[in-house]
Symmetry: none
Subunit: 224 residues, 2 copies
C-alpha cells in the first residue's frame, strides 16, 4: 500500500436552519440550558468530524446498498471510510476478510467566529453563539402542551469551515472516490446534520473546493 498523494477538500458548511449537535455539560448551572450543543472549551460550537463522517457514510450506504451491517457494505464505501475486516472464521467471502484503511480523514469543523460576529451583530442570542428553542408535546386528547423541553441551537446562517483529506493509494480509483464523496454531499444537502432533523433542524449547504493533489516530493520547497 503505497501512498501516492493527498487531496484536501476544503469549504464551508452553512446552516440553513438551526443546527443541534449535542454536547455534554461539564457543570450544572442554575437556570442553565438543557440539551446544549457541542462546543470547544472556549465556547465555540463545532461540527465534530465524527458526526460528519458518520452521517456521510450512512447516507452513502443507504443509497448504494441494502446491507444490514458494515461487513456487507460496498467495498468502495469501506475503502473511503475504513473497515476493520472480519476474522477468518466468521467471514463469508474475501471482501469481508479484507480490512480497509480509511481513505478519508475528517477534521472537526469550527464555527467561523469572524463571520458570525458580522452576521449576528445586534441579534438576540441566548449565549454568545447560540439560540434557545422551546418545544413541547401536545396531548392528543386535551390539546394541552406538555413536557416542555429546551434545545440549544446554532442559528440559521452560521458558517463552519471544514477540511477533509483524501489519501490516494496506488491502485485506488481516485475519480470514483471523489464522485462518491460528491454524491454524499448532495445527499446530505437533502437530508440533515445533527439532531431533530425531521423536525426542522440541521438543513445545510455545503460549498467545497477540491485541492490540487499533494505528492510531498523531497527537494521540493514546501511553499511551492
Amino acid at each position: 500500500m503505497k501512498l501516492q498523494e493527498k487531496i484536501a477538500i476544503t469549504g464551508t458548511i452553512i446552516a440553513l436552519t438551526g443546527l443541534h449537535i449535542g454536547g455534554s455539560k461539564s457543570s450544572i448551572e442554575i437556570g442553565g440550558m438543557d440539551n446544549i450543543v457541542i462546543k470547544t472549551p472556549k465556547g465555540v460550537p463545532f461540527i465534530p468530524g465524527s458526526s460528519l463522517k458518520g452521517k456521510l457514510r450512512s447516507l452513502l450506504v443507504k443509497k448504494n446498498s441494502n446491507s444490514k451491517n458494515e461487513h456487507e457494505d460496498p467495498v468502495e464505501i469501506q475503502k473511503l471510510f475504513g473497515y476493520q475486516g472480519k476474522n477468518k472464521d466468521e467471514a463469508k467471502n474475501i471482501q469481508e476478510k479484507e480490512p480497509q484503511i480509511s481513505r478519508l480523514i475528517f477534521r472537526d469543523a469550527y464555527l467561523n467566529e469572524e463571520q458570525f460576529e458580522k452576521t449576528f451583530k445586534g441579534a438576540t442570542l441566548s449565549t454568545e453563539f447560540t439560540e434557545e428553542k422551546y418545544e413541547n408535546v401536545i396531548d392528543r386528547k386535551s390539546g394541552k402542551a406538555q413536557h416542555p423541553r429546551q434545545m440549544e441551537r446554532v442559528p440559521v446562517d452560521a458558517i463552519f469551515d471544514f477540511e477533509i483529506i483524501m489519501d490516494v493509494y496506488e491502485g485506488d480509483n481516485k475519480e470514483e472516490m471523489i464522485e462518491l464523496l460528491k454524491q454524499a454531499f448532495s445527499l446530505l444537502e437533502d437530508d440533515y446534520l445533527g439532531g431533530n432533523g425531521t423536525r426542522g433542524y440541521g438543513k445545510v449547504k455545503i460549498n467545497y473546493t477540491i485541492g490540487k493533489p499533494k505528492t510531498y516530493k523531497i527537494h521540493e520547497s514546501s511553499n511551492s
Copy 2:
C-alpha cells in the same frame, strides 16, 4: 433499507388570519411584549419544522384511526413521521415492535421578508414583522373585562416558504405516501397552525409543488 430517491415538496404557507407560534424570551424588557412568537436571532418569525410535523401528524391520526397512542397508529402514518418501536416484551403485535424511519424531513419555514416588506409598506405594526393583540376574559356575572393578556402575532397575509423532503425506500408505496401528505395539507387548511386556533388564529393556505424525484446518480453534475 435502500434509499431509492428523495422528493422535495416546496411551497408557501400563507397566513389567512394572524398566526401565533410561541417563542421564548431571552431577556425581560420593561414594556416588552408578552407571549411572543418564535423568531430567529435576527428577529424573523418562522414556523418550526417541529410544529408543522406535529400538527400534520396529529391531524392524520385523528382522521384515519382511533388510536390512543403512537403505538396503535396506522403503519402508513408511522412510516411517514417515524416510529421508535416498542420493545419485544411490551409489544402486542409485530407492527408495534417494528421501528420506522421517518420518511418526511420537515424544515423550519422562514417568513418571506421581501414579500412582507412589500405587503406591509406603510402598515402599522408593533415590531418589524408582528402585530400585538389584546384579549381578556369577560366575567360571566358582571360582564367586566378581566385578566387582560397581550399576544404577539404574525399578521394576516404574511407568507412563509417551506420545504419537506420525502425519502422513498425500496418497497415504499410512493403514491400512497404523497396522497397521505396531501390529505394532511387539506386537513390543516380547515384546521389551524399554532396557538389560539379555535379563537381566530392560524388559518393557513398551503400552496405546494411536488418536485422531480432525485436519484443522486454518480457522474451527474450536482447542479443538473
